[in-house]
């Protein structure tokens, strides 16, 4: 037996998890099988041990996710004995509720919002825990820990509920929901260092591997699964790459890397001169791309 010293960010996240469980009727953890949501799962385990995590997982599947992540997602939920709810963007496309983008930069990233809002309504979720971090993007840097959304999922960015000390007010009206961000104050490096320290398993695509790719606009795109639109003159080559962020395949680029172990990944992140979202084409659409998506109900 020894003395417990504080890890500020970890204790803060555990505190937030417990507030969610105590303040809401039907919380859900948004789990994609990506590194940030895997970290959330570990923090939730820590918050409630020896009890089970007291909320289900929800994944909004664009149908364009990396197969490695999906396999990992299913396995982790099963190991923990947590209910995993999957809702598919494809269903909304088939029903004609949303229209698939076309062309060179087509992505299903934007379409996730509609499916997420549908799932919130279907299950009556009043709190959705997500792995967004403030260091990712400048509109996210403005986000509260408990972010109140209207029944249309809208973020009222100019009139956010004040958050004092670590007092979290989760009181809402029927139909509203709260987006909760327990790792708001973590940086990308914090997440990776934590994964290393805790020896948390993550999907293989985060580590360097050989992959068929093609180059466009100085970015490396996966050519392995026919999901990313590729023009005929865009030549496929094999490269050693890894993914720093794992979202929809159509908007997530790979980075050249030989980091095959977690220690090497942490080291690579520490020395990196490009931000994590530099590999996300969805943020490059305009100066205010993220803010606009959030106003419409995106994470």
């Amino acid at each position: 037996m020894n003395d417990l010293r504080v890890n500020t960010l970890e204790s803060e996240a555990i505190y937030i998890m417990r507030e969610v469980a105590a303040q809401f009727e039907k919380p859900v953890l948004l789990f994609s099988g990506g590194k940030d949501s895997i970290t959330l799962v570990r923090l939730a385990q820590k918050a409630f041990w020896p009890a089970k995590i007291p909320f289900p997982f929800l994944h909004v599947d664009t149908g364009h996710n990396f197969p490695e992540t999906i396999e990992f997602r299913d396995r982790l939920a099963e190991e923990l004995g947590i209910e995993l709810i999957v809702r598919n963007v494809q269903d909304n496309i088939d029903a004609g509720k949303v229209i698939e983008e076309t062309g060179k930069y087509a992505s299903r990233n934007m379409l996730q919002t509609e499916t997420l809002l549908d799932a919130i309504e279907e299950f009556g979720f009043d709190a959705c825990i997500g792995g967004a971090r403030r260091d990712e993007e400048k509109a996210r840097a403005k986000e509260r820990i408990f972010s109140v959304r209207s029944d249309f999922g809208e973020w009222d960015e100019k009139n956010q509920r004040p958050e004092l000390f670590d007092l979290l007010n989760g009181k809402i009206e029927l139909g509203q929901n709260v987006r909760v961000f327990p790792i708001s104050n973590w940086t990308e490096l914090d997440v990776w260092s934590y994964i290393e320290k805790e020896d948390i398993e993550i999907p293989s695509i985060y580590f360097a591997h050989k992959r068929n790719v093609f180059l466009r606009d100085g970015m490396i795109w996966s050519a392995q699964d026919d999901i990313v639109y590729r023009e005929e003159d865009e030549e496929v080559v094999e490269m050693e790459v890894r993914f720093r962020t794992v979202g929809d395949m159509s908007c997530t680029a790979a980075v050249p890397s030989d980091a095959a172990t977690i220690t090497k990944v942490v080291d690579e992140i520490r020395k990196s001169t490009i931000s994590e979202r530099g590999a996300r084409i969805d943020d490059k659409r305009s100066e205010a791309a993220m803010e606009k998506r959030k106003q419409q109900g995106y994470f």
Partner: protein
């Protein structure tokens, strides 16, 4: 790694964004793609300098108006520690957002334009950081390059703020640093333009601050967030009281009292995840079991029996009002203190306190962004410390039960 949270206060005109940008730039914390985006937009707008506010003002409305509306969080780290900057607005109409940013910070940087000296906004920033008892205040006298690095300009500001601190009864550590954010003097690198200044650069000073949390000097308070009852075969009778420890420390065997029931017991085990610990330090989110089987629920507070807090059904508070609907006598609110929520009624409004230290005036209501002396009548007995003694048990938010809004923040006197 240690984490130090710093609030910055000042307007765009004071060069606040430039200062933050300079810190990020000189500590090589801006990645190439973010820097390129700033270069691109600065050029497009026809500036011949890098407009760092583009990195901090994250909302369209902020960039349009050239002002900071809400708190932005900016992260950087050195070999020594991780920093979180809560970049807060300076305008009076966004005082509530400034309070939000300052409430979680251990240090504050107040920017003063060397040409203009101490202005109304400086008073407000100082007032709020004093109200929130932010431990370390750094007065960065900026734009020294525009006053030819004149020592007398710097000294005049220093004297004025020192007098203000004395008048306010401030117990904070106040440090004055002459800087030019635009050119980088005394921000990360020491300047040759200020030979009369023997102090540290801004970053060197921050590196030297102890990154201890705000509850450091208080006694142990453990507000129970949730009761953990797994009801599994292995942990059939397990009843853990989960919460974050604010102040002091808690050890196995400590004699404790549970409030409000005032039931006594002893700490049996302290868990963090699946490991047991002998003693937990402040700031840790622990799960505690007690020797006796007693009735404890969310909102109760576990304290050491030798360190009982005060109790009352009516309290005198300072309140910073954050709602467009005014605070009026007789109105009912919910107050949330830690995990404890109880009903409260405004018993009386004594006065509004001017944030420029010009004094208090009698009032019958508190308007948005005003700070006043208010007494509250409570539906149940509240166990509390003064804000001076413990920031968690000495503060609360007021929630309007009709709108669910966080309408104000209170500091118990």
């Amino acid at each position: 790694m240690e984490v130090l949270k710093i609030a910055t206060a000042g307007s765009v005109d004071d060069g606040k964004s430039t200062l933050i940008g300079r810190i990020l730039y000189d500590t090589r914390s801006l990645t190439d793609d973010k820097l390129e985006a700033i270069e691109r937009t600065s050029k497009q707008k026809g500036f011949d300098y890098l407009d760092f506010s583009l990195a901090t003002d994250g909302l369209v409305a902020e960039r349009e108006q050239g002002i900071t509306i809400d708190v932005a969080h900016i992260y950087f780290s050195t070999a020594k520690k991780s920093y979180i900057i809560a970049d807060t607005p300076g305008h009076v109409e966004y005082t509530r957002n400034m309070v939000t940013g300052a409430s979680t910070s251990q240090a504050a940087i107040i920017l003063v334009d060397a040409r203009n000296g101490v202005i109304e906004q400086t008073y407000r920033h100082f007032f709020i950081n004093n109200l929130l008892k932010v431990k370390d205040i750094i007065v960065a006298v900026n734009k020294m390059d525009l006053v030819d690095f004149a020592q007398e300009k710097f000294d005049a500001i220093k004297t004025e703020i020192s007098e203000l601190a004395t008048r306010a009864g401030s117990k904070q550590n106040i440090t004055y640093i002459p800087v030019s954010a635009l050119n980088g003097d005394n921000v990360v690198d020491a300047s040759s333009n200020t030979p009369w200044y023997n102090g540290q650069t801004l970053l060197a000073h921050l590196e030297g601050l102890e990154a201890q949390d705000v509850y450091e000097e208080s006694v142990a308070r453990l507000p129970v967030q949730t009761v953990i009852r797994p009801k599994t075969d292995e942990f059939h009778d397990f009843r853990g009281y989960a919460g974050k420890l604010y102040g002091g420390s808690l050890a196995v065997g400590d004699e404790v009292t549970v409030l409000p029931s005032k039931t006594a017991s002893k700490v049996k085990d302290i868990y963090f995840f699946d490991k047991k610990y002998q003693e937990a330090a402040r700031g840790t989110s622990i799960n505690v079991t007690l020797e006796n089987d007693i009735n404890i629920s969310r909102g109760d507070i576990i304290v050491k029996s030798s360190e009982l807090p005060k109790e009352a059904k009516q309290i005198d508070t300072k309140i910073c009002w954050m709602d467009a609907n005014n605070l009026v006598v007789g109105k009912k609110y919910l107050i949330q203190q830690g995990a404890n929520v109880i009903a409260a009624k405004v018993a009386g409004i004594d006065s509004v306190i001017a944030t420029d230290f010009s004094g208090e005036t009698p009032a019958t209501e508190l308007k948005l962004n005003e700070i006043g002396n208010v007494s509250l009548k409570l539906a149940k007995t509240l166990f509390y410390d003064t804000f001076e003694e413990n920031k968690t048990t000495g503060s609360f938010i007021l929630i309007d039960p009709q709108t669910n809004n966080t309408s104000g923040v209170g500091f118990i006197q």
